[in-house]
Subunit: 189 residues, 2 copies
């Protein structure tokens, strides 16, 4: 019933905004209980950033994520630091370029930031594309709720680019989940 | 050592952004441990919004606010719902117009939203002014750290108005704390 998601990366990648938007999508539009948290300590002052979202059908007593269902890492450091918090059956989503060394071949590696830069001309929307990847790869949040939450929070005038980034991420996430990197190749007959 | 702050109001007042900015000010610039949380449940779907910030000199094991040092309420409902969580010696900051019925004469009632509308032409910056009021009334966060955190997070082009709102709030908060509503009048000699 309880689902724990962590976004890990560096300050400026917009992962706290991504956490807030995911929480609003699930809490306000999908009708679940959600707690969204960011923590700051000595490690954050080095530029690291993380945001957590805990989702449940029932009120949430303990809001910290401890055994992750999803880790979405946008830096190598974020991946390395938190990979051990992922459940064995958890989903690891990586920015393929920013996390060159995946700790497992089962990771869903999507070139999130590059994809956004190439399609939309700016990396600014990579956090929104990351939410799309999460939705496409895991189904944890519906695209209707997610779109509503994105549009409610992004600056006026940026709605279409954010919508494009979200959809781009969704398709990429769906593709990555349908053909994970460690799926055996078919032998030719 | 532990300080618990809750912002309570309605969606659209920007209180989650205020919570994130306060946490970044204290965590990234003032060098403390901070956890910042928002929770969503059935009550949030009615439009209520709350954001919590817990500050400590040591790592924070339990991130939920339970005995508030500060409650900053921007709606009557937010005040009524959470006033009982305030410590006896805690500080209650209210938007004077939006919370017409204060539960105690010791409340610091500042017309935050009106003040911003009159000075800056838009209510949009009331959440930033509220942070200024908090800083001016309590000293929990320094203005240098708070200004840096505000400027790092607000949209480009709005820096000056946000800075103005912050300073406006700071002065109002300082005045309110210096002359609380329940201070006995001096008898004329």
């Amino acid at each position: 019933m309880r689902t724990e998601i962590r976004f890990a990366g560096s300050g400026g990648q917009g992962l706290i905004t991504a956490g807030v938007i995911l929480a609003e999508a699930v809490g306000l539009h999908d009708g679940k209980y959600v707690v969204q948290t960011q923590s700051y300590g000595p490690e954050a002052r080095g530029g690291a950033s993380k945001a957590e979202v805990v989702i449940d059908d029932r009120p949430i007593r303990y809001p910290k994520a401890q055994r992750l269902d999803v880790l979405l890492a946008m830096t190598q450091e974020g991946c390395d630091r938190y990979y051990h918090d992922l459940k064995p059956e958890g989903v690891l989503i990586l920015d393929a370029d920013l996390v060159p060394t995946a700790p497992t071949s089962a990771a869903l590696a999507v070139p999130i930031t590059r994809m956004v830069r190439e399609a939309l001309g700016r990396e600014l929307f990579a956090n929104i594309a990351a939410l799309g990847v999460l939705a496409g790869a895991t189904g944890i949040v519906g695209m209707e709720a997610l779109t509503a939450a994105v549009l409610a929070r992004v600056p006026k005038g940026t709605e279409q680019k954010n919508r494009d980034a979200l959809n781009l991420g969704f398709e990429a996430g769906r593709s990555a989940a349908a053909s994970p990197a460690d799926e055996p190749e078919h032998d030719e007959v």
